[in-house]
Each structure stands twice: as structure tokens, then as C-alpha cells.
């Protein structure tokens, strides 16, 4: 098994993946590939299976059928070290409200085996929360928590960045900041997967789209300037 330090990859392949929860089928025979530098939008209506796909890509669930390969390797072969290269930001922010911003970042940095200084100071600066570092997260607004959660998910400089509805409840400025950050990450070689049903946010940000409905992949193609029309043509036509 490779060591944590040696795990890296520049492609993620979803190969004929299905996922069932009891008798309910959440994902059915989905296949696609994302490469370093991609910002792939997983688009589809609520309940399409986007979050289930993100959960499996994050190794938090295993496919019922098919497999997900990271640089051609299975998660079982790469071991826990694979998770040093995966960052997840979901609608639930994965922060402890009782702890301060600094304590949260310190905990997650150490959990990933990283030296907390100067990493957390830089992350707090980047989130614009340096002056609120010692305040409890429970006292933060939704936008402040979201910015902190973004930094938390990127502390370990992941190769695969998974964002599940990251723009929920944010104002335009915060959305712009996150979008800029995603573009920089992709430019620096990250593989960014963005699951959203908000086409306005995805427009101009994603360079490829995977359109999903009822757990099935309906299209995997380059994003065109009229994303909403592209979405309606495929999702609306089914």
C-alpha cells in the first residue's frame, strides 16, 4: 500500500457505478472521468443523485456496483493515504460550533497530519476571519461559516476538491470569492467537482458538465455559454 506522502493522481474515473439504499436506486450505471484542471459541474434537479456521487467520490460510501479509480488505482489499494488528497465542502459545514475558528482549523489540520502554524493563520487570513479567530463558530454568520468551512476543506491542499451545493445561503460577494478560489485551484492542477442545481452559479465557472437525473448520467460534455439552455435541452427533453 502506498504511503500517505506518495499518494497522488491526476484523473478520477467513475466506472459504471451504481448505488442502492435498500431497494431504492440512487445512482445507476454512471461513468465519467475528470482530469487535473477540470471544473466539472455535476448538475441536476434535487434528488438526482449528485450528493450520493460526491459521497462515494469522497470515500464516505462504497458503490454497490462498479468502481471509482483515482489515477487508475482503487481506494482499497491506495488506503487511508488517499484521503490526504481529497477535500470536501458540503452544505453541512463540518465545523464544531462550540469551538473557535482557530480551534476548528487546528483540529482538522492536525487530523491531516499537518503542522498547524503558519497554516491556520494563512487560512484565517484567506477567510477574512483573522480578527475573529478566537470567537466561537456559533457566533458567526452563515457566510463567515461558509468561508471558514472552505478553508477547512482546502487546508491539506487536496488534489480532488468536492463541493456539494457550496453557494447555498451566500451573498453575491461570497459566491464570487468561492468561484475565484475554485478557478485558482483548477489552474493549479486540482480536479474540481461541483454539485449544484443552481445553474446561474455554475454558468461561466464550470468547463464541463455532467447532467444527472434520477441517478442516471444523461450527458457528459463541455460546458457551453448558454448553460441553462444546454441543461433544458437535455434534462427538460427527458
Amino acid at each position: 500500500m502506498p504511503t500517505s506522502a506518495s499518494v497522488d493522481f491526476d484523473t478520477v474515473q467513475v466506472v459504471d457505478v451504481s448505488r442502492h439504499f435498500g431497494r431504492r436506486r440512487a445512482i445507476a450505471n454512471v461513468s465519467f472521468e475528470a482530469k487535473s484542471g477540470d471544473i466539472l459541474g455535476l448538475l441536476g434537479p434535487n434528488g438526482a443523485g449528485k450528493s450520493t456521487l460526491i459521497t462515494m467520490l469522497a470515500t464516505l460510501a462504497t458503490p454497490s456496483k462498479g468502481e471509482i479509480r483515482y489515477g487508475g488505482e482503487s481506494p482499497a489499494r491506495l488506503g487511508p493515504g488517499l484521503r490526504t488528497r481529497i477535500g470536501l465542502l458540503a452544505h453541512e459545514l463540518h465545523l464544531y460550533p462550540e469551538l473557535s475558528a482557530k480551534q476548528n482549523l487546528r483540529f482538522f489540520a492536525e487530523l491531516h497530519g499537518l503542522a498547524p502554524h503558519p497554516l491556520i493563520d494563512e487560512a484565517l487570513e484567506s477567510a477574512g476571519l483573522a480578527d475573529r479567530a478566537d470567537d466561537a463558530v456559533s457566533s458567526f454568520s452563515r457566510g463567515m461559516r461558509q468561508r471558514l468551512a472552505l478553508e477547512r476543506s482546502l487546508l491539506h491542499a487536496p488534489r480532488l476538491v468536492l463541493f456539494d451545493e457550496p453557494f447555498t445561503g451566500l451573498d453575491d460577494r461570497a459566491v464570487g470569492l468561492i468561484a475565484d478560489r475554485l478557478r485558482r485551484l483548477a489552474a493549479n492542477g486540482a480536479i474540481v467537482l461541483l454539485a449544484t442545481h443552481d445553474l446561474d452559479m455554475a454558468e461561466g465557472l464550470v468547463n464541463r458538465v455532467a447532467l444527472i437525473r434520477n441517478g442516471r448520467l444523461l450527458a457528459d460534455e463541455p460546458a457551453s455559454p448558454g448553460l441553462r439552455a444546454q441543461y433544458r435541452a437535455i434534462i427538460g427533453a427527458q
Binding site: S4, P97, L111, G113
Partner: protein, 226 residues
């Protein structure tokens, strides 16, 4: 990485508890209330009924432990932080171990309060005549209870009816722990203290602990990703 991760999870839980005192106070309050209610019911004219002290001690430990298990994992459910923990690049059993250590510390604290209280209210000071055997019974029983309880509480963290399901799943499996704890403690309370019987029950508890800690460490990762 394994023990470091477990230590980080424990330290984080202690840091949260130091700010809120939510789980410690509710657990201790419930444990003491439980003992007081039984004392009102089972102590007549300053004399306790039969082996009541041993039974009350283990009922208070298991009931307050069940409450603590639910509250501890509710914290991880609130902002889905359990998913963030599962993304740590360490064997996922390390997270279980960290949570288990937290539960052991919490129930250990409850027992420090419960044992003298039960001894006082049920005239059971004889349990202190063999302190090492008493410590062995408490340690063995607490590890067994927490080993199974921590696994089930983690499994149920996203279940809608987790508060109902936890005791339903937990108690049938930990009945041997409670029986061994009660019979071992009762043996210490007999006059004279029955050391061989207490040692036998400590052996039963140790065997249970080895089996269930091993099973929990082995099954935690697949259970949390299925």
C-alpha cells in the same frame, strides 16, 4: 497515525465539553437522580433490600452511559462533522478508539461519583474492602458497555429514530456485561467478600471486552461506509 488520531478526537471532545459542560452535567445529574430514586424506593428504615446496591450501581452506570452515548454523537450529527472525521487520512478505527476513550473517561467520572453515593445510601461500604477487585469489575464492565455502545451510537448517528434504536440494539448485547457486573459486585458485598466469584466475573468481563473491542475495531470502517 492511529493513536495520534484517536488522541486528537479525544482532545477535541474534551475541548468542546470544557466549553459547554453539556454531556458531563446531564450524565452526572441523571446518574445521581437514578440512585436517589432507587434509594427512596428500596431503603426502608435505613436498611437496603438484599443485593440492591450492586444492581442499582450497574443500572445507574448503564442508563447514564446510554444517555451520554446519545448526546456525544448528537454533537457529531449537528453539522455532519462525523463525515469530516471519516475523511481523516487515518484508519477509521482510530476515530472509534478516540470516541471510545472519551466515553470511558466520562463513565469513569460518573463512577467516581456513583460508587461512594451507592455505598452511602445502601450501606454498602463493604465494596471498598477489596478496592482492586471493585476497580477491575468497574473497568471491565465500563469497557464492555462503551465498546458496544460507541459502535452502535456511531452507526445510528444518521438514523431518524436513533434515540429509540440505541437502547433497543444495545441492551440485548450488553446484558452479559450487566449480569457480570452485578454478580461480581454482589460477591464483593457478601460477608465475607467472595473473592473467587468476583475474580471469575472479572474474567468473564475481560473476555467480553476482548471480543467486542476487536469486533468493533474490525467492523467500524465497513459499517460507517455502507
Amino acid at each position: 497515525m492511529f493513536f495520534r488520531t484517536a488522541w486528537l478526537v479525544l482532545r477535541k471532545d474534551v475541548a468542546i465539553e470544557a466549553k459547554s459542560w453539556e454531556v458531563v452535567t446531564t450524565t452526572l445529574f441523571f446518574a445521581v437522580s437514578c440512585v436517589l430514586i432507587f434509594a427512596f424506593a428500596l431503603v426502608k428504615d435505613g436498611r437496603a433490600v438484599g443485593d440492591a446496591a450492586a444492581g442499582i450501581l450497574w443500572i445507574a452506570i448503564s442508563f447514564s452511559g446510554t444517555l451520554a452515548l446519545g448526546r456525544t454523537f448528537e454533537r457529531e450529527r449537528y453539522a455532519e462533522t462525523l463525515r469530516a472525521l471519516l475523511l481523516a487520512p487515518a484508519p477509521r478505527a482510530a476515530l472509534y478508539t478516540g470516541k471510545l476513550m472519551g466515553m470511558l473517561a466520562l463513565l469513569g467520572l460518573a463512577e467516581l461519583l456513583l460508587v461512594p453515593l451507592v455505598a452511602l445510601l445502601f450501606q454498602a461500604s463493604a465494596m471498598f474492602s477489596r478496592p482492586l477487585l471493585l476497580a477491575g469489575l468497574l473497568a471491565g464492565g465500563t469497557v464492555g458497555f462503551c465498546a458496544v455502545g460507541t459502535l452502535f451510537a456511531a452507526m445510528l448517528v444518521r438514523a431518524r429514530s436513533r434515540d429509540v434504536l440505541l437502547p433497543i440494539l444495545l441492551y440485548p448485547i450488553i446484558i452479559p456485561v450487566i449480569i457480570a457486573g452485578v454478580r461480581g459486585t454482589a460477591a464483593l458485598l457478601s460477608a465475607p467478600p467472595d473473592e473467587p466469584t468476583a475474580i471469575m466475573w472479572i474474567g468473564v468481563l475481560t473476555a467480553f471486552d476482548i471480543v467486542f473491542v476487536t469486533l468493533a475495531l474490525w467492523t467500524f470502517e465497513p459499517l460507517m461506509t455502507e
